[in-house]
Amino acid sequence: MAATTSTPVDLSAALVMTPTALADWLVVLPPALMIGLGAVLMMLRHRIRLHGPIAIAGLALLVLIDALLLWKVLAEGPVTMVMGRWLPPFGIAFSVDVFGAVMALVSAVVALAAAVAALSDISDSGLRYGFFPFLLLLMAGVSGAFLTGDIFNLYVWFEVLLISSFGLLILGSEREQIDGAMKYAVLNLLGTTFFLIAVGYLYAVFGTLNMADLVLKVRSASGAPLMTLSALFILAFAMKAAAFPVNFWLPASYHTPRITVSALFGGLLTKIGIYALLRVMVMLFPLQTEELSLVVAVVAALTMVLAALSMIAQNDLRRLAGYAVIAGIGNMMAGIAIGSVAGLSGAIFYALHSILAMTALYLVIGRAAALTGQWTLQSIGGIYARQPGFAFVSLALFFAVAGLPPFSGLWPKIVLVKASLDIGAWWLAGSILLSGFLSTIALGRVFLFAYWRPAAVPLAVPARLDWRAFGPILALVLLITGFGLFPEWPLALSQQAAGGLLDPSAYIGSVFPTGGAQ
């Protein structure tokens, strides 16, 4: 057994010897807190009245932690903590730069909003099936994915959030849900398997999984099969992000679960694919990303235009929202294809906007359906007459999703269009504008039919404002409006995040403070 040894051992060759500052714990606290609280809720699985308050308090704490983390990263640059005190690249590192911190913060805000909305949407049986424990474990996976600095660890967090999302998807075990979950599970597992194969290959070639270490090793590599690796990673993450040829799982599954679950998925899950694409492709394989940029650009253009066309074709509101999520993915992929600081910051800004706006869109649709009892455009109607305030907030959100001023959807699109014109890709700029125009028509139709048109059957239920349902929507729309009116702050953050991806020297410096193990 490991008893005290008599011979002196130089521990500094293997272990971190400097004491860890308390503030560094912010890096690992988000996933640890979420897993711990999720475990507590699992133990209290029959006390369903306690689930809501504990989860909401925990998520509020998560927002606070992520905000402190972002503040620390902005003030001091990237922060790293290595698990088990082992020196990187051998210990698993959690490394946070501006990009990871800002994504984690916005996701936590959205999860908090969804948890509050769940109070009025998830039934007692849904709670007994474990909605809140699943939600917290999902957030553990999401936070972990944004904060980790190890590519295999990223895969593990993907699995954590995937398994929690299976649980959330079949909450209630209806026939339709099992059908949707099957498609979702099979295609996502396929995507994750590609990811795993690529990670295994990467490890076989470079012998390391730490992302900072990989950046250095890839730079000095010669004759390594980098193109194959890049293609595998792009395929895997495009599947996760629901990009065009491999996106049919999303509209097939996102309309089946409870609307709060759809809101969480629409806001968070696809954006994690985009995050991984930016982190792995742009940071690790910048040259290969540039070579593949035409492929990515064509995929992006097809994704956004076809998704916007599909939005117009939909009758079910939830399916329409699913295509709205995909149209946004096209815009973000366009930013990745452009590849300049402007393009990447446009993609990151769009991701932040999309996390907030897509969650709000699903919640609005759920509220509209709760008010009228209808999910389809042909039968829904009369919301404006019943709740003009809610209609006003919805209209603001529809403007934001379509990318009209003065809301947050406008600015990333402007940045992306300008960046694509700068590199002479007029067709990419054209498809961004076309997709925005088609989305405007589709959402205009929704407003026309669902809000302005009088209800076909007089609605019996009295129209009272339920703050537990309306509050989260209002908060998200206020955030979106704030981003739209004062775009300097999120734009500056996005630019800083994009700069950190293109020149990861600060990120590498936080993992290897003494100049590296090279």
Binding site: A3, W25, I35, M42, M83, R85, G91
Partner: protein, 139 residues
Amino acid sequence: MNTLIFRTVAPFLTALMILFSVFVLLRGHNEPGGGFIGGLIAASAFAIYGIAYGVAAVRRAIRFHPMSIAGFGLLLSTVSGLVSVLLGVPFMTGLWIYPHLFGVEVPLSSVMTFDIGVYLVVVGAITSIALALEEKESD
């Protein structure tokens, strides 16, 4: 499956397997074994008992719901990682104490509590799956 021989042997087999699972769990620090495989052995033991005497007997015997056991294990593992905050070392650093119990040095560590957590997660999760499957069969 419900023969006299099986029902006579099952309690002994279950007791033996659970003892062995704890042995495998504790052995796992330096030799092959550990929480995961130990948990699988214990879960198999509960499954065997369930096949012989029915699911209700297992649920009574383990007192807590399997999912609560899994939840406790997850919490224990997380807390084992977090205690290193008190010593100013990073998350999940192995911490050791060497108390003398009855004249024998017993090395205890946060690594061990983490592994016990893994053991409980596996016992809880696999037992709850096994019991759910056996329940369906006996309906």
